[in-house]
């Protein structure tokens, strides 16, 4: 009979030094692989089980145990839950292991038929995945399925626990074969690091204590592997990110915002930017119950006050000016569908991303992952436990990261607005192609204060497939030409051009408000807009500048700041149902354009430029004309 290891050793293991942090561990594997026994063993040997609990465990082992041991470690996990009787096997349980150097939170997810939904719940916060394999069977489909889901959820460190080594011969050869086979398979996953450990949960070999029977194995024990794995806080990046959780206003003298620093650090007086607005200020103070602090860093829950009284709300982010987060109203995401009701494309759901709540619709489902093979299949909807790539349209812009960069700020949930059921978990992906990055107004765009400053002007344009141009979209008084500029931008973006509309919605709120020249008179506004367009041109971006015809005529020399080759003027006319490209000189001679008086002519020749006459519904010629000019 094999007896449980002595208690004295356990006490040594338990606590001599405070642990360095918390590691969150996902465990998966089917019941027959010995997962309960392994977790039970880990709990026993790290001293997580007390004497009175051990006593009842011994009684239970006599009654239900399937081993000759005094204490069946599996009963510690299975028996505790009484799961079968309660019918709650589908759910995740949390257990706690305390080693001398680490606290480990185990999210124990049973590998039953509802595996996806539960594994995603357990994996969503885990740093490391422990995948159990029965040494007698090697890598099976279930192993791959678990690895695919864990990897999809952003887990980059795997422990392949090759269990039941006590039951096989030729241990080293079998271990190497299984480890190699997993290594081969894991190359299809995203940047995964794996440690393969040969062990026996039942006997405790290589769990907390090194096995004398496998002296050929030189790697870490399971406990050592858990102690040395980095926790998730190490992966968050250097940029200061502080999503606002609460606005604090106890009295009229104090106005602060509370939240947790997701990444980076901040000091008093540091400049900051608020997203999605883009307004800037600086840190005035960092407030805690213990007094004001001079700095704060990743993982701290603090309250911040700013130098300026700017508009702040829950869901906004305070970031460093060089931040790399995104503001957008459309996202491409992996959705894990968690509801029995099929995904309803076009239906409005509540979306929560970090602390921001908004409404959202799934615009389209592009593909579904075959969880057996990891490959993409065509799909139009998602059912319970399916994972698919979707386009989501939000009712207002949100700040977010790509999930691969920062998990806590790159994920969201969808909630049914009637039943309040959580229907989906979402993982925000980078847009597949660069062309979707900068687009028509509300497409995804990078808010970046100065990251491009050191790159020589013009060199970025060279990387794009097209040349740039400034297009002045002119019109008479009113909104029509502005609308046409927007529509033109959307159409151009849809065919893959990098395009920005330079108007008050781009510039007004950000620059003008901050510096108090929102009511610039016509000329200054035109000069400013053309200057911005010119800069964007140098980065290879097509700029559309809506402008009133009268302003343009009066300030024609403002055009001098543009590169003569690189601008064109189009004249909009809502009455037109077709568009025509005519050099303005021809139009003048044809009498189409009223001749300006001699006096006006001197001031405003506008000669020699291409003009396009078009209505809102007839932009195809305009697009062709722009394409001809910029296509390399």
């Amino acid at each position: 009979m094999i007896t449980h290891k002595t208690r004295a050793a356990d006490i040594d293991l338990r606590h001599d030094n405070p642990p360095s942090g918390i590691l969150r561990l996902l465990t998966c594997g089917s019941v027959d692989d010995g997962k309960s026994t392994l977790i039970g063993r880990l709990l026993l040997e790290t001293g997580a089980v007390y004497e009175d609990q051990l006593q009842s465990l011994q009684l239970e082992t006599k009654r239900h145990g399937t081993t000759e041991l005094l204490i069946d470690p599996a009963l510690l996990v299975d028996g505790l839950e009484d799961e079968r009787a309660q019918g709650i096997t589908i759910d995740v349980a949390y257990r706690y292991v305390r080693s001398p150097r680490r606290k480990v939170i185990i999210a124990d997810s049973p590998g039953h038929e509802q595996y996806t939904r539960n594994m995603v719940t357990a994996a969503s916060r885990s740093d490391v995945a422990l995948i159990l394999v029965d040494a007698r069977n090697g890598i099976v489909q279930q192993t791959k399925r678990h690895a695919i889901i864990a990897s999809l959820l952003g887990i980059k460190r795997f422990i392949l626990a090759i269990n039941k080594m006590d039951l096989i011969d030729e241990k080293q050869r079998v271990y190497e074969a299984i480890a190699h086979s997993f290594e081969e398979f894991s190359r299809t996953l995203d940047e995964v690091e794996t440690i393969a450990i040969p062990l026996s949960g039942l006997r405790g070999d290589n769990v907390c204590h090194r096995s004398s029977e496998m002296s050929w194995y030189e790697g870490p024990t399971l406990l050592e592997a858990l102690e040395s794995a980095p926790d998730s806080q190490c992966d968050q990046g250097d940029h200061f990110r502080f999503p606002i959780q609460r606005v604090v206003r106890p009295n009229s003298d104090f106005r602060g915002v509370s939240g947790t620093i997701v990444s980076g650090s901040i000091c008093v007086n540091d400049p900051i930017m608020v997203l999605p607005q883009g307004t800037r200020s600086a840190i005035r103070s960092i407030v805690t119950m213990e007094g004001e602090k001079l700095s704060g860093c990743t993982g701290q829950a603090v309250t911040i006050t700013l130098e300026d009284e700017i508009d702040l709300a829950r869901g906004d982010w305070i970031v460093s000016p060089d931040n790399e987060s995104h503001v957008s109203q459309n996202v491409v995401a992996m959705l894990v569908w968690m509801s029995r009701d099929e995904l309803d494309v076009g239906r409005t759901y509540i979306l929560r991303c970090v602390t921001k709540k908004t409404m959202a619709e799934v615009e389209s489902v592009e593909s579904v992952i075959d969880i057996e093979t990891g490959s993409d299949e065509q799909a139009t909807s998602l059912r319970l436990n399916e994972i698919g790539r979707c386009r989501i349209m939000l009712h207002e812009p949100i700040v977010h990261d790509h999930y691969s960069v920062t998990r806590d700020t790159g994920a969201f949930i969808l909630v049914d607005k009637v039943s309040y059921e959580t229907v989906a978990a979402g993982i925000i992906l980078p847009p597949e192609e660069a062309k979707q990055k900068i687009g028509s107004g509300n497409e995804s765009s990078v808010h970046s204060g100065s990251s491009s400053r050191n790159i020589p002007l013009g060199s970025q344009g060279a990387r794009l497939e097209h040349d740039s141009v400034t297009v002045l979209v002119s019109g008479d008084d009113g909104q029509a030409h502005v609308d046409i500029a927007q529509k033109l931008a959307t159409d151009l973006a849809n065919v893959g051009f990098h395009v920005v509309v330079v108007d008050e919605s781009l510039i007004g709120e950000g620059i003008a408000e901050a510096f108090g020249f929102s009511s610039l008179e016509g000329r200054k506004r035109l000069v400013r807009n053309l200057q911005v367009a010119h800069v964007l041109n140098q980065f290879g971006i097509i700029s559309l500048v809506p402008v009133e015809m009268a302003d343009l005529r009066r300030n024609e020399n403002a055009l001098q700041m543009l590169d003569g080759e690189k601008y064109m003027i189009i004249e909009t006319d809502l009455s037109k149902t077709d568009s025509k490209v005519i050099p303005i000189t021809e139009r003048l001679s044809a009498g189409e354009v009223p001749q300006p008086s001699n006096h006006e002519k001197d001031k405003c020749p506008l000669r020699g430029f291409t003009a396009v006459s078009c209505g809102a519904e007839s932009l195809h010629h305009v697009i062709d004309e722009i394409a001809n000019r910029v296509w390399k």
Binding site: R7, H15, P18, P19, S20, G21, I22, Y50, E51, D52, L80, E81, D82, Q86, G87, I88, D91, A93, Y94, R95, Y96, R98, R102, K103, I105, R117, V120, T121, S124, R125, Q233, Q245, R246, V248, P250, G256, S258, T260, V287, T288, M289, G299, Q300, A301, T303, M338, R352, C353, V354, T355, R407, D408, A411, F412, I413, V415, Y420, E421, T422, A425
Partner: protein, 313 residues
Amino acid sequence: MLRQEIDPADERYLECKHLRMLEEESIYILREVAECFENPVLLYSIGKDSSVLLHLARKAFYPEKPPFPLLHIDSTWEFREMIEFRDTYVREELGMEVLVEINQDGVDRGVNPFEFPSNVYTDVMRTQPLKSALSRYRFDAAIGGGRREEERSRAKERIFSFRDKHHRWDPRNQRPELWRLYNTWVHRGDSMRVFPLSDWTEEEIWQYILLENIPLVPLYFSKDRPVVNRDGNLIMVDDDRMPLNGAEKPELMKVRFRTLGCYPVTGAIESNACTVSEIVQELRSTRLSERAGRAIDKDEEAAMERKKRQGYF
């Protein structure tokens, strides 16, 4: 109340990264409750977990006061020192609003922990007044100090744990809890139990009390107290309502309590630990679980789970 100077030997805890991670997590949860619910309440039982919870709430909302009241379900059988701590420290010194709920009907019917089975007593003097207070004040979120490590049915409990109109927990139908994106939406009448200390262990609670110098009811610290040995439990004779058998005679023993509840059903342990630091040391060598002295958990198999389904915290 006891609040102590930190022993230099314990300074290493000041750098405890895991305690700071747990602290941040709990503060985040508390702030989410305040933002996402209209009428939250903090279930305050005067014990060490409640004290840590209250301390975290004060930190989370500073410089404001926690934006919710405390609710104490008073079984009328609490230790006298607990009530004194509640009234002098929490109410007067901290200025917190403490609502106290007593099941007067149970008092009138003479329901007590001596003559009634523990499940009946707990239901009448704890669960019923809790449910009635939550309904009467229309609280939509109740924050509690439960920890998953404490007891088997809690290992499966969500941090934001949904309760229907009858305060029932349905372990088979829990909301998935993904990342830190808590689904906090409830319909009118439904509510949420929220457990910001879910991932803490007893040892970490004590380390944090040491680290943050959190005041506690003195019953946690060893002292000569009058106790009788009843069915293996050391029960303190706290007032003259306690009936003694002919053979029983209270004797002074150096004891302290690991958990606090109703005095007639809470067993003391023999101990010399008079400071938080000594308690942390003691915990390292003890081989008995925290709830070994609590009668309520043991009266039937899966007792706690059944109580929770009925609305017990």
